[in-house]
């Protein structure tokens, strides 16, 4: 299984849909076999080689050497291997991933990790809206896997999330975890208004109590939660945030929807 490097020939003049250009595909074909692969480009479809210089890379890796905000669907449908982007990507990165590792050095557009069910996304910059959410018409968002964002996330992150872990080191925009069904999201920075509306289950780890909790949330006070200790030890992405938590303030909601989700904050 060889590796492949893609280097844009020129700045893109239209959006490029990279869905389907995954390590499983690129690493199973020769460089010459990759050249004619059809890639949606604006309103038309062009061969991969028309957009990128295609060269060898370390085994098992697909490397996009220069990122671009017009590159949509990077890593979408990944099942295995490693895809590395040196820079920024557009919308729908990692959509529907079931396995493998997607590393993005810069920012990502909207819908990062939408409907992710496995694998891992690491984002060096910030993400747009709808991280880990569902596609239009789908009831469930991300159901497994991990998304780690070094920067901030836009509005509606974790909306309809069904499982898995989203770690946002920076701020989260408004309406975090709207209609969240299950799963875990942690926010190291500030959380925008209207968090957790319609949330049924799931856990939000927050660095501070959000300013504007919807009406359906009830503060149950501070507790010694073994589950927090368990997650601090078993989930490396959370260990730094949860280290030293002895008392945890637990806010349950959205009770207006019969929900049993929770917002956990160090007390």
């Amino acid at each position: 299984m060889s590796g492949v490097s893609l280097k844009p020939r020129a700045p893109f003049e239209a959006r490029v849909d990279m869905a389907g250009i995954t390590p499983a595909v690129t690493c199973s074909l020769t460089l010459r076999e990759l050249e004619p692969l059809a890639v949606p480009y604006g309103a038309r479809s062009v061969p991969l080689a028309e957009l990128f210089f295609i060269e060898s890379a370390p085994e098992g890796v697909l490397l996009i050497e220069i990122g671009d905000a017009r590159l949509d669907g990077v890593g979408a449908g990944m099942t295995q291997g490693e895809l590395i982007v040196d820079g920024t990507v557009g919308a729908w990165a990692g959509r529907g991933m079931t396995g493998g590792m997607l590393r993005i050095g810069g920012d990502a557009g909207d819908f990062l990790g939408a409907e992710l069910s496995g694998g891992r996304i690491e984002l060096g910059g910030s993400a747009g809206a709808w991280v880990g959410t569902a596609s239009s018409g789908s009831r469930r968002g991300m159901s497994g896997g991990t998304i780690v964002i070094a920067g901030s996330a836009g509005a509606q992150a974790a909306a309809r999330q069904r499982g898995g872990l989203i770690v946002i080191a920076g701020d989260a925009g408004e309406r975090l975890a709207t209609d969240m069904i299950a799963g875990t999201v942690s926010v190291g920075g500030a959380i925008g208004p209207l968090m957790g509306r319609g949330m049924r289950r799931g856990t939000i780890f927050a660095s501070a109590v959000p300013d504007a909790l919807p009406a359906g949330f009830i503060d149950t006070g501070a507790h010694e939660l073994v589950a927090v200790s368990l997650m601090a030890r078993r989930v490396p992405e959370l260990s730094a945030m949860l280290k030293g938590w002895t008392l945890t303030r637990r806010i349950v909601g959205d009770t207006l929807m019969g929900g049993q989700g929770e917002v956990l904050v160090s007390a």
Partner: protein, 310 residues
């Protein structure tokens, strides 16, 4: 074979297949973890009367447990998987769930799944919530003292039950002291438990009884007070016999426990009042695992697995 003046009789311990599992129980303090462990494994000495055999395998330091608190590992054995699936949730619900500050985790990853919170979670009456971490699902049950955290299920292994050896000594005091030394050494072996009180059995049994309906009765051949009235296995100088029974996750683990136990007894030697080491068997008709004492003490006993002949 004579070791330090102690005769190792040319016989074997006969053991049978059992199905077992391991639970990791943690608590805020080592004392409460031990309390939970002792309660959970209480009245679990013999499947004959208790439905399972259980014991504390060892204590666990905080860094060894899933939630970073002190804990104990418990082994529970039953005669078949159906029995194990029945008895584990019962003991979990009665003895771990109820014990202050505890949490309970799977101690075996592979094998058929034994339900833990999978059934116990309904105690929370709809307030139970789960958290999936990696591939494992944990349940959180609100309880009056706080929250009980428990793995959804645990794995199981096909183990060995009924490994044993007998300590023949001059006096009751000498037999007890030797048995205590054996227990102290054997509890350091991973993957085994000694399910009887303090690890020691004074009422070793034979199969069957003169009374209808009894499966087992006193091992009269090893009762000193019956010497001469029944076909006895005890020479005149033996005044007391104690038995160590061993259940383990593998033949090798039971063999190793047997070896270190007998070695500890022999270290006391004839000067400690020990006369001989014997073992309980039924002529090879009870079970397929035969622990030949002399081979084990010669250091190659562990090489003989299931089906080893007499």
């Amino acid at each position: 074979m004579i070791i330090n003046g102690v005769e190792i009789r040319d016989t074997f311990a006969e053991a049978f297949p059992m199905v077992g599992t391991r639970l990791i129980v943690t608590a805020d303090t080592p004392e409460w973890a031990l309390t939970a462990g002792r309660t959970t494994t209480g009245f679990a000495t013999s499947v004959i009367g208790c439905g399972c055999e259980a014991g504390i395998e060892r204590t666990l330091a905080p860094e060894e447990t899933p939630d970073g608190r002190p804990g104990v590992s418990l082994l529970i054995f039953a005669m078949d998987f159906k029995s194990l699936k029945s008895v584990v949730p019962l003991r979990l619900g009665q003895c771990v769930l109820t014990c202050p500050t505890t949490a309970c985790y799977a101690g075996v990853e592979g094998g058929k799944r034994v339900p833990l919170a999978k059934t116990i979670r309904y105690f929370a009456d709809g307030h139970q919530i789960s958290k999936k971490i990696g591939d494992k699902r944990f349940w959180r049950l609100p309880v009056m003292e706080g929250e009980f955290v428990c793995d959804e299920d645990t794995g199981s292994v096909e183990g060995v039950g009924g490994g044993n050896f007998l300590i023949l000594a001059h006096t009751r005091g000498a037999a007890l002291k030797a048995a205590e030394a054996a227990v102290a050494a054997m509890t350091k072996v991973e993957g085994v438990i000694l399910p009887f009180p303090g690890g020691i059995v004074r009422s070793g049994s034979k199969v069957g009884s003169k009374y209808k309906g009894l499966f087992a009765s006193t091992n009269d051949a090893y009762c000193p007070t019956l010497r001469g009235t029944v076909p006895s296995q005890l020479p005149a100088e033996v005044g007391s016999v104690m038995e160590i029974v061993i259940d383990g996750f593998s033949f090798e683990a039971v063999a190793e426990a047997t070896r270190v136990g007998i070695a500890a007894v022999c270290a006391l030697g004839v000067e400690g009042g020990v006369v001989a080491i014997d073992a309980g068997n039924y002529g090879g008709n009870l079970g397929p695992f035969h622990f030949k004492l002399r081979e084990i003490m010669a250091g190659d006993g562990a090489a003989n697995g299931a089906g080893a002949g007499t």
